[in-house]
Point group: C2
Chain length 128, copies 2
DNA sequence: CCTTGACTTGGAGTCAACTCCAAGTATTAT
DNA sequence: ATAATACTTGGAGTTGACTCCAAGTCAAGG
């Protein structure tokens, strides 16, 4: 699969794909004789995985580390698992924080919904 | 309240507070005769609010718009409510996406937990 | 009054994560 | 074979959100 197809399939710009490769996040992509990238099925899986994890806010740094350990084989199973657990924890915390903020927004919207907000109560809207 | 206190109270650097003021996210902070910032209770509420919303990933741009409408008074109630609803929606979508990723991470961790991963199954870990 | 430390400004610098560019090479359609 | 299109590279530029800096002003203690 050429870069343009991968780009379209996963809605990631070709520049970003090349960038990921450059920084070691997507290593070992095969090339044709002419030097043109040819993504395997496995490469595509990684692309999809990275896109998903980046979408959830995992840092590129931690993903590079994960991928790099992966490439070093079975002896890194433990370290890889630890990264996953760490990142899982951080993600969960972010989600919890965001849910609290969501609830806060809901309350604010309720205030606005009840058309009962005189100017002097505006402060309350900001506070809550 | 002086900037250093506000900075400490909300764990936001004084530079960031000044930056927020400059870009119109935290307008109308009072000054002493000498020109030194003196945050009111209401200013502090805004600081806290902004910190919370930024923490959940709302863009500074949308927050500036909200604050700016707020300052224009009651006639902007509808527009403000719309911003809140839009942002709430986006936030919810992000949360949902992140929860899916959390579940995916959990599955991956489970794989690692069951010490049954031979080298040729590594692909599966990447895929799932 | 003088020193010390906190505050002020405008503007420059940093960081992560892309995104774009120019010059060149490869592939494909005619 | 040639033109048009897609790909390559290294490196520069951009964006959002800060973060730092220098030079100057202000305020509190001795």
């Amino acid at each position: 699969m050429k870069i343009a197809e991968v780009s379209q399939k996963f809605d990631i710009s070709a520049d970003t794909l090349r960038y990921y490769e450059r920084i070691g996040l997507l290593p070992g992509v095969n090339r044709s004789e002419g030097g043109i990238r040819d993504y395997t099925e496995e490469d595509c899986n990684w692309v999809e995985f990275i896109k998903c994890m980046r979408g959830a806010g995992l840092s590129i740094e931690s993903l590079i580390e994960y991928v790099s350990l992966f490439q070093q084989g079975e002896k890194t199973l433990k370290a890889r698992k630890e990264i996953l657990i760490d990142q899982r924890e951080e993600l969960e915390n972010r989600i919890i924080e965001m849910q609290e903020t969501l609830e806060r927004l809901d309350k604010k919207i309720e205030y606005y919904e009840s058309h009962l907000i005189p100017a002097q109560d505006m402060l309350v809207i900001a506070e809550n």
